[in-house]
Protein backbone atom coordinates (compact mmCIF):
# COMPACT_ATOMS: atom_id res chain seq x y z
CA UNK A 1 0.00 0.00 0.00
CA UNK A 2 1.36 3.40 -0.93
CA UNK A 3 0.03 6.83 -0.10
CA UNK A 4 -0.39 9.56 -2.70
CA UNK A 5 -1.56 13.16 -2.79
CA UNK A 6 -3.44 14.71 -5.67
CA UNK A 7 -3.56 18.49 -5.89
CA UNK A 8 -6.93 19.48 -7.39
CA UNK A 9 -6.98 22.99 -5.93
CA UNK A 10 -8.64 25.71 -8.04
CA UNK A 11 -10.11 23.10 -10.33
CA UNK A 12 -13.85 23.17 -10.72
CA UNK A 13 -16.26 20.34 -11.28
CA UNK A 14 -15.80 17.95 -13.00
CA UNK A 15 -12.02 18.37 -13.25
CA UNK A 16 -11.31 17.09 -9.69
CA UNK A 17 -13.23 13.90 -10.57
CA UNK A 18 -11.39 13.51 -13.87
CA UNK A 19 -8.01 13.97 -12.16
CA UNK A 20 -8.98 11.47 -9.45
CA UNK A 21 -10.16 8.97 -12.05
CA UNK A 22 -6.94 9.34 -14.05
CA UNK A 23 -4.75 9.10 -10.94
CA UNK A 24 -6.45 5.95 -9.69
CA UNK A 25 -5.87 4.24 -13.05
CA UNK A 26 -2.17 4.22 -12.23
CA UNK A 27 -2.57 2.91 -8.65
CA UNK A 28 -2.92 -0.55 -7.14
CA UNK A 29 -5.78 -1.88 -4.99
CA UNK A 30 -5.29 -0.78 -1.39
CA UNK A 31 -3.35 2.34 -2.30
CA UNK A 32 -4.50 5.55 -0.66
CA UNK A 33 -4.89 8.86 -2.43
CA UNK A 34 -5.62 12.16 -0.71
CA UNK A 35 -7.34 14.56 -3.08
CA UNK A 36 -7.02 18.20 -2.07
CA UNK A 37 -9.78 20.37 -3.59
CA UNK A 38 -11.18 23.87 -3.28
CA UNK A 39 -14.45 23.25 -5.16
CA UNK A 40 -17.04 22.19 -2.57
CA UNK A 41 -18.87 20.27 -5.29
CA UNK A 42 -16.01 17.77 -5.26
CA UNK A 43 -17.12 16.55 -1.83
CA UNK A 44 -20.23 15.14 -3.53
CA UNK A 45 -18.81 14.23 -6.90
CA UNK A 46 -15.69 12.31 -5.88
CA UNK A 47 -17.57 10.08 -3.39
CA UNK A 48 -20.28 9.46 -6.04
CA UNK A 49 -17.66 8.47 -8.59
CA UNK A 50 -15.94 6.24 -6.00
CA UNK A 51 -19.18 4.47 -5.08
CA UNK A 52 -19.89 3.51 -8.66
CA UNK A 53 -16.33 2.36 -9.36
CA UNK A 54 -15.77 0.33 -6.22
CA UNK A 55 -13.38 2.63 -4.37
CA UNK A 56 -13.88 3.66 -0.75
CA UNK A 57 -13.85 7.19 0.60
CA UNK A 58 -12.27 6.70 4.01
CA UNK A 59 -12.20 10.32 5.08
CA UNK A 60 -13.36 13.81 4.22
CA UNK A 61 -12.18 16.85 6.09
CA UNK A 62 -12.02 20.61 5.66
CA UNK A 63 -8.81 22.48 6.40
CA UNK A 64 -8.48 26.22 5.85
CA UNK A 65 -11.13 26.28 3.15
CA UNK A 66 -9.71 23.23 1.41
CA UNK A 67 -11.44 19.88 1.18
CA UNK A 68 -9.37 16.74 1.62
CA UNK A 69 -11.00 13.57 0.37
CA UNK A 70 -9.14 10.37 1.16
CA UNK A 71 -9.81 7.45 -1.15
CA UNK A 72 -8.75 3.82 -0.82
CA UNK A 73 -8.39 2.23 -4.23
CA UNK A 74 -10.69 -0.75 -4.69
CA UNK A 75 -10.18 -4.01 -6.53
CA UNK A 76 -12.10 -3.01 -9.63
CA UNK A 77 -9.95 -1.33 -12.24
CA UNK A 78 -10.80 2.22 -13.30
Amino acid sequence: MTRHTLDARRLLCPMPVIRTQNKIKSLAPGDIVEVVCTDPGATNDIPAWCRMHGHAVIGTETRSGEFIITVEVGKIAG
Binding site: R10, P14, P40, T43, N44, A48, W49
Partner: protein, 346 residues
Amino acid sequence: MATPRKAVALISGGLDSMLAARTMLEQGIHVEGINFFTGFCVEGHTHAIRAKDRARPKRNNALWAAEQLGIRLHIIDVIDEYKDVLTKPKHGYGANLNPCLDCKGFMVGKAYQWMTENGFDFVVTGEVIGQRPMSQRKDTMPVIARESGAGDLLLRPLSAKLLPPTRPEREGWVDRDKLFDFNGRNRKPQMALAAAHGITEYAQPAGGCCFLTDATYARKLTDLWQVRGSKEYELDDIMLLKVGRHLRPRPHFKLIIGREEGENNFLEGYRRQFTCLRPISHHGPLALLDGTADESDLQLAARVTARFSQGRNAPLVQVEVTRQSVTTRLDVQPLAEDEIPHAWYI
Protein backbone atom coordinates in the same frame (compact mmCIF):
# COMPACT_ATOMS: atom_id res chain seq x y z
CA MET B 1 -26.33 -18.14 -19.91
CA ALA B 2 -25.06 -15.84 -22.66
CA THR B 3 -22.82 -12.96 -21.71
CA PRO B 4 -24.88 -9.76 -21.95
CA ARG B 5 -24.07 -7.34 -24.72
CA LYS B 6 -22.36 -4.17 -23.59
CA ALA B 7 -23.35 -0.63 -24.51
CA VAL B 8 -21.65 2.64 -23.74
CA ALA B 9 -24.23 5.39 -23.25
CA LEU B 10 -23.59 9.11 -23.57
CA ILE B 11 -24.84 10.55 -20.28
CA SER B 12 -25.39 14.29 -20.09
CA GLY B 13 -27.28 14.24 -16.83
CA GLY B 14 -30.54 15.21 -18.54
CA LEU B 15 -33.65 13.10 -18.79
CA ASP B 16 -33.30 11.80 -22.35
CA SER B 17 -29.91 10.20 -21.85
CA MET B 18 -31.12 8.70 -18.56
CA LEU B 19 -34.12 7.18 -20.32
CA ALA B 20 -32.05 5.83 -23.18
CA ALA B 21 -29.68 4.10 -20.78
CA ARG B 22 -32.55 2.85 -18.66
CA THR B 23 -34.24 1.37 -21.74
CA MET B 24 -31.11 -0.63 -22.45
CA LEU B 25 -30.82 -1.80 -18.86
CA GLU B 26 -34.42 -3.02 -19.07
CA GLN B 27 -33.37 -5.23 -21.97
CA GLY B 28 -30.57 -6.82 -19.99
CA ILE B 29 -27.77 -4.87 -21.67
CA HIS B 30 -24.70 -4.09 -19.58
CA VAL B 31 -24.50 -0.29 -19.75
CA GLU B 32 -21.71 2.04 -18.75
CA GLY B 33 -21.98 5.78 -19.12
CA ILE B 34 -19.57 8.21 -20.70
CA ASN B 35 -19.52 11.96 -20.35
CA PHE B 36 -17.22 14.40 -22.13
CA PHE B 37 -15.96 17.60 -20.55
CA THR B 38 -15.29 20.26 -23.18
CA GLY B 39 -14.76 23.18 -20.82
CA PHE B 40 -17.99 24.79 -22.01
CA CYS B 41 -20.36 22.63 -20.00
CA VAL B 42 -22.64 24.70 -17.78
CA GLU B 43 -22.46 21.81 -15.35
CA GLY B 44 -20.55 22.39 -12.24
CA HIS B 45 -18.48 25.47 -12.71
CA THR B 46 -21.08 28.14 -12.27
CA HIS B 47 -22.72 26.64 -9.23
CA ALA B 48 -19.31 26.35 -7.66
CA ILE B 49 -18.47 29.99 -8.28
CA ARG B 50 -21.45 32.21 -7.64
CA ALA B 51 -22.65 32.65 -4.09
CA LYS B 52 -26.22 33.05 -5.31
CA ASP B 53 -26.11 29.49 -6.61
CA ARG B 54 -24.84 27.99 -3.37
CA ALA B 55 -28.28 26.74 -2.44
CA ARG B 56 -28.39 24.58 -5.56
CA PRO B 57 -27.16 21.01 -5.22
CA LYS B 58 -23.42 20.93 -5.76
CA ARG B 59 -23.32 17.87 -7.86
CA ASN B 60 -22.33 16.81 -11.30
CA ASN B 61 -25.60 15.90 -12.98
CA ALA B 62 -24.08 13.19 -15.16
CA LEU B 63 -22.57 11.47 -12.10
CA TRP B 64 -25.83 11.84 -10.25
CA ALA B 65 -27.83 10.41 -13.16
CA ALA B 66 -25.46 7.47 -13.53
CA GLU B 67 -25.73 6.69 -9.85
CA GLN B 68 -29.54 6.74 -10.08
CA LEU B 69 -29.27 4.31 -12.97
CA GLY B 70 -26.83 2.10 -11.07
CA ILE B 71 -24.19 2.28 -13.80
CA ARG B 72 -20.57 3.35 -13.88
CA LEU B 73 -19.73 6.68 -15.46
CA HIS B 74 -16.47 7.60 -17.15
CA ILE B 75 -15.82 11.33 -17.44
CA ILE B 76 -13.37 12.18 -20.18
CA ASP B 77 -11.43 15.42 -20.53
CA VAL B 78 -11.67 16.45 -24.20
CA ILE B 79 -10.77 20.11 -23.69
CA ASP B 80 -7.84 20.11 -26.12
CA GLU B 81 -9.40 17.91 -28.77
CA TYR B 82 -12.56 19.99 -28.67
CA LYS B 83 -10.74 23.10 -29.86
CA ASP B 84 -10.82 21.90 -33.46
CA VAL B 85 -14.53 21.14 -33.19
CA LEU B 86 -15.27 24.64 -31.97
CA THR B 87 -12.91 26.62 -34.15
CA LYS B 88 -13.37 24.73 -37.41
CA PRO B 89 -16.90 23.32 -37.45
CA LYS B 90 -17.56 21.58 -40.74
CA HIS B 91 -21.29 22.13 -40.37
CA GLY B 92 -21.09 25.66 -38.97
CA TYR B 93 -22.59 27.21 -35.88
CA GLY B 94 -26.10 27.39 -34.54
CA ALA B 95 -27.63 30.62 -33.25
CA ASN B 96 -24.47 31.52 -31.35
CA LEU B 97 -21.10 29.74 -31.25
CA ASN B 98 -22.66 26.31 -30.75
CA PRO B 99 -21.31 23.82 -33.29
CA CYS B 100 -23.99 21.30 -32.31
CA LEU B 101 -23.80 18.93 -35.24
CA ASP B 102 -20.00 18.73 -35.24
CA CYS B 103 -20.08 18.45 -31.45
CA LYS B 104 -22.47 15.51 -31.47
CA GLY B 105 -20.48 13.77 -34.17
CA PHE B 106 -17.30 14.32 -32.20
CA MET B 107 -18.77 12.97 -28.96
CA VAL B 108 -20.33 9.93 -30.58
CA GLY B 109 -17.00 9.34 -32.33
CA LYS B 110 -15.15 9.49 -29.01
CA ALA B 111 -17.69 7.14 -27.46
CA TYR B 112 -17.26 4.77 -30.40
CA GLN B 113 -13.50 4.87 -29.93
CA TRP B 114 -13.95 4.12 -26.21
CA MET B 115 -16.33 1.29 -27.14
CA THR B 116 -13.76 -0.42 -29.36
CA GLU B 117 -10.93 0.08 -26.87
CA ASN B 118 -12.93 -1.38 -24.00
CA GLY B 119 -14.63 -4.32 -25.69
CA PHE B 120 -18.14 -2.90 -25.78
CA ASP B 121 -20.65 -3.69 -28.54
CA PHE B 122 -22.51 -0.48 -29.36
CA VAL B 123 -23.11 3.16 -28.52
CA VAL B 124 -26.35 4.57 -27.11
CA THR B 125 -27.52 8.18 -27.05
CA GLY B 126 -30.66 9.90 -25.81
CA GLU B 127 -31.18 11.75 -29.09
CA VAL B 128 -34.77 12.37 -30.13
CA ILE B 129 -35.73 13.30 -33.68
CA GLY B 130 -36.86 16.90 -33.88
CA GLN B 131 -35.72 17.76 -30.38
CA ARG B 132 -32.93 20.13 -31.44
CA PRO B 133 -32.90 22.34 -34.53
CA MET B 134 -29.37 21.45 -35.60
CA SER B 135 -28.16 18.11 -34.34
CA GLN B 136 -31.36 16.20 -33.67
CA ARG B 137 -33.19 16.21 -36.98
CA LYS B 138 -34.13 13.21 -39.04
CA ASP B 139 -31.78 14.34 -41.82
CA THR B 140 -28.82 15.07 -39.54
CA MET B 141 -28.97 11.93 -37.41
CA PRO B 142 -27.47 9.78 -40.21
CA VAL B 143 -24.73 12.41 -40.59
CA ILE B 144 -23.74 11.90 -36.95
CA ALA B 145 -23.76 8.11 -37.34
CA ARG B 146 -21.64 8.32 -40.47
CA GLU B 147 -19.15 11.02 -39.48
CA SER B 148 -18.58 9.62 -36.00
CA GLY B 149 -17.59 6.27 -37.48
CA ALA B 150 -20.14 4.51 -35.29
CA GLY B 151 -22.43 3.78 -38.26
CA ASP B 152 -25.10 1.24 -37.43
CA LEU B 153 -23.57 0.57 -34.02
CA LEU B 154 -25.17 3.81 -32.87
CA LEU B 155 -28.58 3.19 -31.31
CA ARG B 156 -31.02 5.94 -30.28
CA PRO B 157 -33.57 4.00 -28.23
CA LEU B 158 -36.00 6.90 -27.83
CA SER B 159 -36.49 7.42 -31.59
CA ALA B 160 -35.31 4.04 -32.87
CA LYS B 161 -38.65 3.06 -34.41
CA LEU B 162 -38.50 6.10 -36.67
CA LEU B 163 -35.01 5.22 -37.90
CA PRO B 164 -33.66 2.29 -39.92
CA PRO B 165 -32.86 -0.76 -37.73
CA THR B 166 -29.35 -0.67 -36.36
CA ARG B 167 -27.10 -3.66 -35.96
CA PRO B 168 -28.02 -4.19 -32.27
CA GLU B 169 -31.66 -4.47 -33.42
CA ARG B 170 -30.99 -6.60 -36.49
CA GLU B 171 -28.79 -9.01 -34.57
CA GLY B 172 -31.35 -9.31 -31.79
CA TRP B 173 -29.08 -7.87 -29.10
CA VAL B 174 -31.99 -5.56 -28.31
CA ASP B 175 -35.70 -5.93 -29.03
CA ARG B 176 -36.75 -3.16 -31.44
CA ASP B 177 -40.38 -3.60 -30.39
CA LYS B 178 -39.47 -2.36 -26.93
CA LEU B 179 -37.83 0.81 -28.25
CA PHE B 180 -39.65 4.09 -28.87
CA ASP B 181 -40.83 6.48 -31.57
CA PHE B 182 -40.46 9.80 -29.77
CA ASN B 183 -40.46 12.73 -32.11
CA GLY B 184 -40.38 16.51 -31.70
CA ARG B 185 -40.03 18.93 -28.85
CA ASN B 186 -42.99 17.65 -26.85
CA ARG B 187 -41.55 16.30 -23.61
CA LYS B 188 -44.68 14.47 -22.47
CA PRO B 189 -43.64 11.02 -23.75
CA GLN B 190 -40.32 11.30 -21.93
CA MET B 191 -42.04 12.43 -18.75
CA ALA B 192 -44.49 9.55 -18.98
CA LEU B 193 -41.65 7.08 -19.50
CA ALA B 194 -39.75 8.61 -16.59
CA ALA B 195 -42.81 8.23 -14.39
CA ALA B 196 -43.20 4.61 -15.51
CA HIS B 197 -39.63 3.95 -14.40
CA GLY B 198 -40.09 5.82 -11.14
CA ILE B 199 -37.65 8.54 -12.22
CA THR B 200 -39.00 11.61 -10.45
CA GLU B 201 -35.92 13.82 -10.24
CA TYR B 202 -33.73 14.82 -13.14
CA ALA B 203 -31.82 17.83 -14.39
CA GLN B 204 -33.60 20.00 -16.92
CA PRO B 205 -30.94 21.61 -19.06
CA ALA B 206 -33.54 22.58 -21.75
CA GLY B 207 -30.81 23.15 -24.30
CA GLY B 208 -28.85 25.22 -21.84
CA CYS B 209 -26.19 22.71 -20.91
CA CYS B 210 -23.53 24.42 -23.01
CA PHE B 211 -22.24 27.97 -22.67
CA LEU B 212 -21.72 28.13 -26.42
CA THR B 213 -25.49 28.42 -26.91
CA ASP B 214 -25.53 31.53 -24.73
CA ALA B 215 -25.46 34.83 -26.67
CA THR B 216 -23.58 36.76 -23.99
CA TYR B 217 -20.95 34.07 -23.59
CA ALA B 218 -20.54 33.80 -27.37
CA ARG B 219 -19.99 37.56 -27.58
CA LYS B 220 -17.23 37.37 -24.98
CA LEU B 221 -15.55 34.49 -26.76
CA THR B 222 -15.76 36.33 -30.09
CA ASP B 223 -14.16 39.37 -28.44
CA LEU B 224 -11.36 37.19 -27.05
CA TRP B 225 -10.64 35.75 -30.48
CA GLN B 226 -10.78 39.14 -32.20
CA VAL B 227 -8.32 40.68 -29.77
CA ARG B 228 -5.94 37.73 -30.11
CA GLY B 229 -6.26 37.64 -33.86
CA SER B 230 -6.83 33.90 -33.74
CA LYS B 231 -9.30 31.39 -32.39
CA GLU B 232 -6.93 30.13 -29.72
CA TYR B 233 -7.93 29.55 -26.12
CA GLU B 234 -6.91 27.70 -22.98
CA LEU B 235 -9.13 26.37 -20.20
CA ASP B 236 -8.45 29.41 -18.00
CA ASP B 237 -9.59 31.73 -20.80
CA ILE B 238 -12.93 30.05 -21.22
CA MET B 239 -13.43 29.74 -17.48
CA LEU B 240 -12.90 33.46 -17.00
CA LEU B 241 -15.50 34.22 -19.66
CA LYS B 242 -18.07 32.61 -17.35
CA VAL B 243 -17.29 34.94 -14.48
CA GLY B 244 -17.96 38.60 -13.77
CA ARG B 245 -18.78 41.66 -15.86
CA HIS B 246 -16.52 42.04 -18.86
CA LEU B 247 -15.87 45.60 -20.02
CA ARG B 248 -13.49 46.74 -22.72
CA PRO B 249 -12.82 50.47 -22.17
CA ARG B 250 -9.93 50.45 -24.64
CA PRO B 251 -9.10 48.09 -27.51
CA HIS B 252 -5.90 46.95 -25.78
CA PHE B 253 -7.38 45.93 -22.43
CA LYS B 254 -10.52 44.66 -20.80
CA LEU B 255 -11.63 44.39 -17.21
CA ILE B 256 -13.19 41.37 -15.57
CA ILE B 257 -15.07 42.64 -12.53
CA GLY B 258 -16.47 40.28 -9.91
CA ARG B 259 -20.21 40.66 -9.33
CA GLU B 260 -20.29 39.14 -5.88
CA GLU B 261 -18.19 37.45 -3.24
CA GLY B 262 -18.06 34.07 -4.91
CA GLU B 263 -16.79 35.56 -8.15
CA ASN B 264 -14.29 37.77 -6.32
CA ASN B 265 -12.91 34.69 -4.60
CA PHE B 266 -12.65 32.86 -7.90
CA LEU B 267 -10.92 35.80 -9.60
CA GLU B 268 -8.52 36.02 -6.66
CA GLY B 269 -6.96 32.80 -7.89
CA TYR B 270 -5.86 34.61 -11.07
CA ARG B 271 -4.41 37.74 -9.46
CA ARG B 272 -0.82 36.75 -10.21
CA GLN B 273 -1.53 36.28 -13.89
CA PHE B 274 -3.18 39.68 -14.41
CA THR B 275 -2.99 43.23 -13.20
CA CYS B 276 -5.40 43.21 -10.29
CA LEU B 277 -7.45 46.12 -8.92
CA ARG B 278 -9.45 46.28 -5.72
CA PRO B 279 -11.04 49.25 -3.91
CA ILE B 280 -9.69 49.49 -0.37
CA SER B 281 -11.34 52.66 0.97
CA HIS B 282 -14.77 51.16 0.26
CA HIS B 283 -16.16 47.68 -0.11
CA GLY B 284 -15.93 46.67 -3.73
CA PRO B 285 -15.16 44.06 -6.34
CA LEU B 286 -11.93 42.51 -7.43
CA ALA B 287 -11.13 43.36 -11.04
CA LEU B 288 -8.62 41.75 -13.35
CA LEU B 289 -7.11 43.73 -16.19
CA ASP B 290 -6.48 41.57 -19.24
CA GLY B 291 -4.23 43.24 -21.79
CA THR B 292 -1.71 46.04 -21.69
CA ALA B 293 -2.18 49.28 -19.79
CA ASP B 294 -0.13 52.44 -19.33
CA GLU B 295 -0.55 54.80 -16.38
CA SER B 296 -3.56 56.59 -17.88
CA ASP B 297 -5.18 53.25 -18.65
CA LEU B 298 -4.64 52.18 -15.04
CA GLN B 299 -6.31 55.39 -13.87
CA LEU B 300 -9.28 54.64 -16.10
CA ALA B 301 -9.41 51.00 -14.96
CA ALA B 302 -9.35 52.13 -11.32
CA ARG B 303 -12.18 54.60 -11.97
CA VAL B 304 -14.27 51.88 -13.61
CA THR B 305 -13.57 49.51 -10.71
CA ALA B 306 -14.51 52.25 -8.23
CA ARG B 307 -17.80 52.70 -10.08
CA PHE B 308 -18.79 49.18 -9.04
CA SER B 309 -17.78 49.70 -5.41
CA GLN B 310 -19.85 51.03 -2.56
CA GLY B 311 -17.96 54.28 -2.99
CA ARG B 312 -19.51 54.92 -6.41
CA ASN B 313 -20.97 58.22 -5.17
CA ALA B 314 -17.95 59.24 -3.07
CA PRO B 315 -15.64 61.99 -4.33
CA LEU B 316 -12.63 59.67 -4.17
CA VAL B 317 -12.07 55.95 -3.85
CA GLN B 318 -8.70 54.43 -3.10
CA VAL B 319 -7.94 51.47 -5.34
CA GLU B 320 -5.08 49.07 -4.80
CA VAL B 321 -3.40 48.06 -8.06
CA THR B 322 -1.08 45.06 -8.16
CA ARG B 323 0.95 44.48 -11.26
CA GLN B 324 3.79 41.95 -11.45
CA SER B 325 3.89 41.73 -7.63
CA VAL B 326 4.25 45.53 -7.28
CA THR B 327 1.38 47.17 -5.42
CA THR B 328 0.45 50.83 -5.69
CA ARG B 329 -2.56 52.82 -4.51
CA LEU B 330 -4.53 55.22 -6.65
CA ASP B 331 -7.02 57.78 -5.37
CA VAL B 332 -9.57 58.11 -8.13
CA GLN B 333 -12.92 59.64 -8.80
CA PRO B 334 -15.39 56.90 -9.64
CA LEU B 335 -16.81 57.13 -13.14
CA ALA B 336 -20.39 58.34 -13.23
CA GLU B 337 -22.96 55.91 -14.57
CA ASP B 338 -23.27 57.82 -17.84
CA GLU B 339 -19.49 57.80 -18.29
CA ILE B 340 -19.51 54.07 -18.91
CA PRO B 341 -20.76 53.64 -22.48
CA HIS B 342 -22.90 50.62 -23.12
CA ALA B 343 -20.46 49.65 -25.88
CA TRP B 344 -17.81 48.92 -23.25
CA TYR B 345 -19.83 45.96 -22.00
CA ILE B 346 -18.86 42.83 -23.86
